[in-house]
């Protein structure tokens, strides 16, 4: 305890952080709440002297927006697909990494590289990989020329190239690209956490299991996974939260149009919706942000409830 005589010193030391937090975190949160509940609020209008009445019109507007349902659907779908896939993949990779001795450090570094790479840049690389130049409609004299490495590989195995992301591509193909990209992007952090968890499991549990003649599958399901469950719960919860805020990955691949050429906004997400509204309709954007917060809050509560039942600490 700091003696009360000197507590003002402590406050002075804390002041820079507190001031910054108040300005850039606390106030925006309060302001979001305020804007969300003022009918049709816009900053420009407010600066011009307009006054807005209290009401829940912004929320109504958001929910009635057709685009909002698309955004919510896209976000949910991406979450539901990518969280389990990336978690399972990360778990398998972490277990394999943990099992090998030589080059472990090097491989660990390689697997961690995506984490320190800019996601927009990665998105552009992915866009190039899945790219396709030419037309998928294939008229009589039309040649289909692929440029992306993925379609080249498909072609090598005698498969037809797929229009992944270009004009006229299907929603399903777009989603596949997004899922692959998001999963790949989510892996490093999860592998890091799970590998750390694995390495902290007492080796004697495995020795005991070995003496008792436990099959490898049972060791994995009955010992490794339960002992790793706190870390698994952690990565699943944080990944769900991150998944609901998915935005930059789609910008990285499809650009700010949030969809393939000719069909913009098809892959828009909740955060994308908020950004779109932010330009002129700050009230609506705030309401959407609060709705997103509510959804994340509920999902996290469910996650915590489930993990409490299933997790061993």
């Amino acid at each position: 305890m700091v003696e009360s005589k000197h507590s003002w010193k402590a406050w002075i030391y804390l002041a820079p952080a507190i001031v910054l937090l108040l300005i850039f975190t606390v106030w925006p949160i309060i302001n979001t709440l305020r804007m969300a509940f003022l009918e049709g609020y816009s900053t420009m209008g407010a600066v011009g002297g307009a006054t807005y009445e209290f009401g829940i019109g912004n929320f109504k507007q958001v929910l009635e927006y057709k685009d909002f349902l698309t955004c919510l659907g896209n976000t949910m779908l991406l979450c539901v697909l990518t969280v389990p896939i990336s978690t399972i993949l990360a778990l398998l990779i972490a277990v394999c990494l943990n099992a090998i001795k030589p080059l472990q450090r090097l491989l660990q570094t390689i697997f961690f590289l995506p984490y320190v790479t800019n996601s927009i840049a990665i998105g552009m690389v992915f866009a190039a990989m899945f790219n396709m130049v030419g037309s998928a409609f294939g008229g009589e004299n039309e040649l289909i020329i692929t440029a992306g490495i993925i379609n080249n590989v498909l072609g090598f195995f005698g498969m037809d190239p797929v229009n992944w992301i270009n004009a006229g591509s299907s929603y399903g193909a777009n989603m596949v690209v997004m899922v692959v990209y998001i999963v790949w992007n989510a892996l490093p952090f999860k592998i890091l956490i799970l590998l750390g968890g694995l390495q902290s499991i007492n080796k004697q549990y495995y020795d005991a299991a070995k003496v008792d003649g436990t099959s490898r599958r049972r060791v994995f399901t009955r010992i490794t996974v339960p002992l790793l469950s706190p870390m698994l719960a952690y990565v699943v919860i944080t990944d769900f939260i991150g998944g609901f805020k998915e935005y930059s990955s789609i910008v990285g691949i499809f650009g700010e149009d949030m969809g393939p050429t000719g069909d913009p906004r098809r892959l828009n997400t909740m955060v994308g919706f908020i950004y779109d509204a932010l330009a002129n309709h700050q009230g609506r954007a705030s309401a959407a942000a609060l709705i997103l917060f509510g959804i994340i809050f509920v999902v996290t509560l469910i996650n915590l409830y489930v993990s409490k039942k299933k997790t061993h600490y």
Binding site: D207, V211, G213, I223, P226, L227
Partner: protein
Amino acid sequence: MKVELQNLTKIFPSRNKKAGGEVVAVNDFTFTIPDGKLIGLLGPSGCGKSTTLYMISGLQKPSGGKIFFGDDDVTELAAEDRGVGLVFQNYALYPHMTVKQNILFPLQNLKGADKLPKDVMLERAYEAAKLVQIDELMDRKPSELSGGQQQRVAIARALVKMPKVLLLDEPLSNLDARLRLQTREEIRRIQKETGITTIFVTHDQEEAMSISDLIVVMKLGVVQQIGKPQDVYDNPTNLFVAKFLGTPPVNVFEGSVKGGKLYIGDAAVLETPGVDDQDVFVGIRPEGFILDNNGPLTCKLNSVEVMGRDVSVVSTHSASLNPVVRSIIDADNQVAAGATVSYSLKPHKVFLFGKADESRIYFGVKSDG
């Protein structure tokens, strides 16, 4: 099941390649453990006793030598195929499973023809739990148990699959003093009841002596002596074994043999017929002293500690290699207050060891004592 070790050797490669020098953890260990006996592997830390245990369990591969269970060579057999039960020093109970699940776990691993129906598994789990007296705790998690209870669960888990050999790694080291006494009786009882050949590792000589049928004293990977606890205590083969066994420890003196007589300092303390003239280490058990005012060995008296049944006389002697000379004498004898105390010696409690290799030099004990 008898367990036979033939020239068992374990060499650990050096961690640091530059420093070089591999570590020989166990060196040429040959010994047959008779069926149904309780064996204590005893030695200071780093003597290779745990390594020996892990080689018998199959968790570590020997660098050389062979291991037989009965007549079967199991040297190349994996741990899971050997049918051993192993109790780890810190028990290694699965923390996320209840006591019941922990005990059932080895049975649920059985495959193919060995597979048991559920009710048989449960029956055997309860049988094992009853044997170690934890059948009341079956639905608790290990974290809700005391150290002694965890220990019992670990033993039950090792016993439930009816192993041919039960291995215990420092089974009592995590328990408090009172529980340790109780648990070692318990281990003895369980071993007697099941008749399973049991090998346990300990650095506590009292623990090993009190419950083992045979003890194996090891030092730096080399077996020093194997025998019944009392025999090893009464007849140590070298200075290390003599010093390692017994509380209070053996008193060690610098001495010399001249003309068939043992000298400590200037005093001829004992007839040692048949020993060539040489300098020796002399080990005298605390109970080997007889209070005798005319006795040849005179020490400076420090204090007398009353222990009820016995008294412990603490004294010093210039030739002693221990800080104090400690003798244990029947409480009937009155120790006269004074500056010195004199003893004569019981010949069979006096051991001579060569200066060079510290190995035992035997001398003929005259029957008249």
